[in-house]
Each structure stands twice: as C-alpha cells, then as structure tokens.
C-alpha cells in the first residue's frame, strides 16, 4: 500500500460524518469534523489538514499514526519501508483476560500494520536517514520482540549505510505479554543506539504523546538531540502508578513536554509545524559536521 493510499484509507475510518444531528448551539455544516480533546471545540477536517492535525483553537496536537508522522518528516516520495512484515508471535502462550494472539490479531486488523513501529530509509531535508515512527494504535505501540527487533535493525542499517536516525516515539512501554523477552528489548535497543553513537552518526528523537515506560527508558531518550511535541506525556512511571505509590495527586503539567524541558530532559519543545524544518537544521549540523556550510 502506498503512503497516500494508506492515508486515505486511514482518514476515511477516522472522520466522524455528521448524519443530520448537529452539536448543540454550534454552526456545524454537513461534513467531516472532529472534537478537540483539549478544548472540546469542533475542528473541521480541512482545518486539521491545513494545521497538520493541530487544533486551530487551542494548539492541542492531535495524535498522529506512524505513516502520518513519516509523511510529515520524509521528503516527498523518499520513504522506503523495510521489515514491514516483522511481527511478534506469542512465545509465552500468554493468556490473561484474553489471549495475546487475539490482541495481536485485532491490532493488525485495526491498524493495517504488522507491528507498533514503522521503519524505513528516507531523506529528510535531503539527508539520508533511517526514519521510524511508532503507532500507538498497535497495542499502545508497546515494545515486544518485534518492535525491539525493528528498532535494532533500524540502527544497524543506519550504521552499515552511515545514515542518521530519526525516530518519532510513542508507546505505553514494554509489551508485558512477552515477559522478559520484552524487557530485554530495552537493553538490546539501547545497545544498538550506543553502537551508532560510537560511529559518530547522529540520532534525533522526537518524543510524541504518549511515550512511557520501557521505551522512554531505553532508545527514546539516549539521542544526540531530543525533541518533544507540545503537550506530550513522557515519562518512566505512568501517572496512575505514581499517584498510587505516593498517595497524592500529581501537579498539573507533570510529565508534559514542557515539564521535561524545564527539568533539563529535552532540548526543545517543537510545534508540529516547525518540526521538519528543525530536524533538517539539526541534521545540517550533525550529519555534515563542522565544515563550512
């Protein structure tokens, strides 16, 4: 499936089409619209496309899926996916509430993806990169064997071909249905990042909403430059786990991108509209080094 076909199919599923009923007191025409989860106002599809799925009223960044992210960053027609068929199996025969195999199946059906991350070769601002994006719709883009394997291969391929790596992360954490096989992906992916770093090839990560747990605590944050989208939730422990542990409510904005910036954890919070230009400029510095521009 080409990216543009994929986009169309995806969007078709996503929009709510008004059937006669209108939101009370508002002037919604017949057509396609969404409700902003932050300001609760209605946003028309045309606006959303124009604003890269950022709410024109309040600036809230709607979640993007993997191919939307890639479409945003990759130079036109430059993305060439690899390892699209790599998927997790059910090595532990895991059944709790429902079988893991069922979760995998329904995730594949709903998303059209084999796993929670999409990786490929691309150029960004003309720089050859390995570009990857996680897709939260796939079991929360949790990292099991397949996500870990695809990330590891992405870094290895970048090392072989002397490319930079650009990753957009989004994940609920480790995929518990694969037990320790899943936890060990944290060490495995971090080890591949280290090898890229030793080769002095740049790695830029873009933390998007939400990036939590074992993904944050491994390959997501050990990049040369760490960017974050406005308002993304990023952290190690989930807010509910923390609240249960410390028996108190968390302050507003806790674990947001802006909170992380203040605490020294990310280089910059970059609005979506500026992201591609920013990544390009960073690659100008890091992928070409210090010779004259």
């Amino acid at each position: 499936m080409s990216i543009s076909d994929w986009f169309k199919a995806r969007e078709a599923r996503r929009y709510t089409t008004i059937n006669g009923e209108r939101a009370a007191g508002s002037e919604v025409p017949d057509g396609v619209w969404s409700t902003c989860s932050a300001c609760k106002r209605i946003v028309y599809e045309g606006q959303l496309v124009e604003y890269l799925r950022v709410c024109p009223h309040c600036g809230h960044h709607f979640d993007l899926n993997a191919f939307e992210r890639i479409g945003l960053l990759a130079d036109p027609e430059s993305f060439d996916e690899f390892d699209a068929g790599v998927g997790s199996t059910d090595p532990l025969g895991f059944v709790a509430a429902k079988p893991y195999t069922e979760s995998l199946e329904s995730a594949r059906e709903r998303s059209g993806l084999t796993e929670g991350v999409v990786v490929g070769r691309a150029t960004v601002g003309g720089h050859p990169v390995v570009l990857g994006a996680m897709d939260f719709r796939f079991i929360g883009a949790s990292m099991g064997s397949a996500v870990g394997e695809k990330i590891a291969r992405a870094f290895e391929l970048a090392l072989d071909e002397r490319r930079a790596v650009v990753l957009c992360t989004a994940s609920g954490g480790a995929r518990m249905q694969e037990g320790m096989l899943s936890l060990m992906q944290m060490a495995k992916t971090s080890a591949t990042v280290r090898r890229l770093a030793e080769a002095r090839l740049p790695y830029i990560s873009v933390l998007t909403n939400p990036t939590m747990g074992g993904v944050t605590a491994s390959f997501a944050v050990v990049a040369d430059v760490v960017l974050a989208e406005p308002g993304a939730l990023v952290g190690f422990a989930g807010p509910r786990v923390i609240e249960q542990t410390i028996k108190q409510h968390l302050p507003k904005g806790f674990q947001s991108s802006e909170f992380l910036l203040e605490h020294g954890m990310v280089d910059e919070v970059v609005p979506r509209g500026q992201l591609t230009a920013r990544v390009t400029t960073l690659l100008d510095y890091l992928a070409r080094g210090g010779e004259r521009a």
């Binding site: 790599v86 199996t89 509430a97 064997s145 394997e149 320790m180 096989l181």
Partner: protein, 322 residues
C-alpha cells in the same frame, strides 16, 4: 519471640507446626494418649514440608524472593567478598542508598560490585527506599561502571529491586533517562560483566544494572517486565490475580533459562535462601568466581561484541512479507 514472617503458601505448614509446638508444650507423661498424636503431626509436617517446598509456583517464588529475611546485597558483600570498599555518590546530586557500589574481591578476583540494596528492617528500608532507586542511584552505578571500565575491573552486579521508584522527584530528575543511559553504558563496557539475580528483578530498574556476559539467578529469584500485581491489575483489573499472571509472565529462573536469557541457576535450600544463607553464599562465590575465571583475559572488543550478540539475539519474531 519474634513473630516469624509467614509466606502465603507456607501457611498450612506453619499452622501445623504451631499445633505441634502446642502439643509438645503439654505434659506428655500426664497425657500418654497424645504421644501418638504428636508423632502423627510430626509425620504430617514432614510430608507437608516436602510438598510445600517441592513444587513451588511462580507466585510462591515471588514471595520467597521478597522474604524479609532473604539475604540482601550487603549480606553478599559481607559474606562472599573481601576487602570491600564502598564508594558513594553520583557527583551531581546525591548518594542513593538504594544502590550499593563497591570495590571488592571475590575468590581472588578484584572487581567492582553494584547492587540494589534493600533494608533489613523498617528504618533501613526507609533510608534505602525499599531497594527502589532514584535516578541518582543509576547515575552512581554509571560512575562505578566507568571506573571499572577505566581500570579493567570486571563488574559483578546483584539484582534485587521491586523496580525503579515511581515518584514525582524521580521523574523530575529523569528516571527514564538514567535507566536508558545505564543500559547503553553497560552494554558497551570493555570488562567482563557478571549479573546475579539474588531476589527481585523488577523491570527497568533491575535491568539498568541487570545484564552482562553471564546472567546467574538464584532458584527463587524472579526477573520480570512488570510485577505480577501490576500486570494483573492492568489486564484483569484485579491485582488478586497476581498468582495466575506470575505464571504467564515466565519470570522464574527456570522459565528464563528456558528462554535462553538466564545462563545458570543456583539452587536454594528448601524453603529459600534465608533458611541456609551460608550455603547460598558459598554457591554464589563459586559460580561468580568460575564465571569471572572463564571471562578473564578475554579481548575487550570480543567481550563487547559477544555481549552485543547476546542481547541482539533475544526476542521471538516472525518475518512476514509486510
């Protein structure tokens, strides 16, 4: 008499033992009819003890791994190692007592040691945050990893934590960042790394110092992507299903040896390491020393390469056409 800590699965046995004790406190010469009963109960206890400790479930082992009397990292440092010099601090924020760092000698091998450190009592546990490190604990560990690397000292790690601490300050100071950096650093150390699971192996906080060229686990230690309670409350919305989930998660030493993640299992005395700690210390000394001997003199590039291959091979996938 201090009340004995009773694990769930031991309860029938402990109740029977209590009954026997009660019987024995009676004047048996005055109650000759009880002599037979005492003998019967004693026999029952023997049988029950055997069955109780013979076929432990994953959840039983989780309880043993959390037993308050279970030997802790500092007990191993005292019993297994000599010439121990504890090193403190991350040189930036604090000294996290939930991580112990030391230079030490085991069976003639000079090494650096890192371990999660739980307390033996409430006061100690509060100071050590129940063995749950903050970011500065992992940063202390990284400092010692770099020191070991610089001076060619092999690294021995002792894994025993419920997990990295989930708290406001831990997040503020970059818990995820500290763990991730530790993983990357540990993967590239140019000295042998021997990791030993001695108790709890809780998620990323365990893994941050919990892998290497060898992974040895005590029979009743666990190592898991998530605590069974948390897993049960997410998947079943019922933490009470932890026992069931513990089995699914394949978190015991035996499970992990089956998955090729654990290299060696050190068997424990019946009932757990706390019953005969000296026996366990001896076994750990012997296994760690053997592993260090086997790894000694390895070419650093080869060490890093083979550790990478070890990690790289973990995972079960299928390759579809996409």
């Amino acid at each position: 008499m201090t009340r004995r800590y009773v694990m769930e699965f031991e309860r029938p046995l402990v109740e029977l033992e209590a009954k026997l004790e009660e019987l024995q406190r009676l004047d048996l010469t005055a109650n000759p009819e009880l002599v037979a009963e005492v003998a019967t109960v004693a026999e029952e206890i023997e049988a029950l003890r055997e069955s109780t400790y013979a076929d432990l479930s994953a959840w039983d082992r989780v309880q043993i791994s959390r037993h308050p009397d279970r030997p802790k990292a500092q007990d191993y440092l005292a019993a297994v190692f000599t010439d121990v010099v504890e090193l403190h601090g991350d040189r930036a924020y604090g000294d996290d007592e939930a991580i112990v760092a030391a230079l030490a000698t085991v069976d003639g091998h000079r090494v650096a040691v890192l371990g999660h450190r739980k307390g033996k009592n409430t006061r100690e546990n509060i100071a050590r945050n129940f063995g749950m490190p903050h970011p500065e604990g992992f940063r202390k560990a990284m400092r010692i990893m770099r020191l070991a690397n610089k001076f060619g000292l092999p690294l021995v790690t002792l894994i025993d934590t419920p997990g990295a601490f989930p708290g406001i300050e831990a997040e503020e100071r970059g818990q995820a960042w500290a763990i991730a950096e530790s993983l990357a650093l540990l993967s590239g150390l140019r000295v042998p790394v021997v990791a030993v699971g001695i108790g709890e192996g809780g998620s990323g906080g365990a893994l941050a110092i919990g892998f290497g060229d060898r992974l040895i686990m005590l029979e009743n230690a666990y190592y898991s992507v998530i605590s069974p309670e948390a897993c049960a409350s997410i998947l079943h919305k019922d933490a009470g299903k932890a026992s069931e989930v513990a089995t699914c998660l394949a978190m015991t030493a035996a499970d992990l040896a089956g998955l090729g993640i654990v290299d060696e299992i050190i068997s424990e005395p019946s009932g757990g390491a706390h019953r005969q700690p000296e026996e366990v210390f001896g076994a750990v000394r012997e296994r760690v020393s053997s592993a260090l001997t086997a790894l000694a003199g390895a070419d650093p590039n080869e060490l890093v390469r083979s550790r990478y291959e070890r990690l790289r091979s973990i995972g079960v996938i299928e390759e579809g056409s996409g």
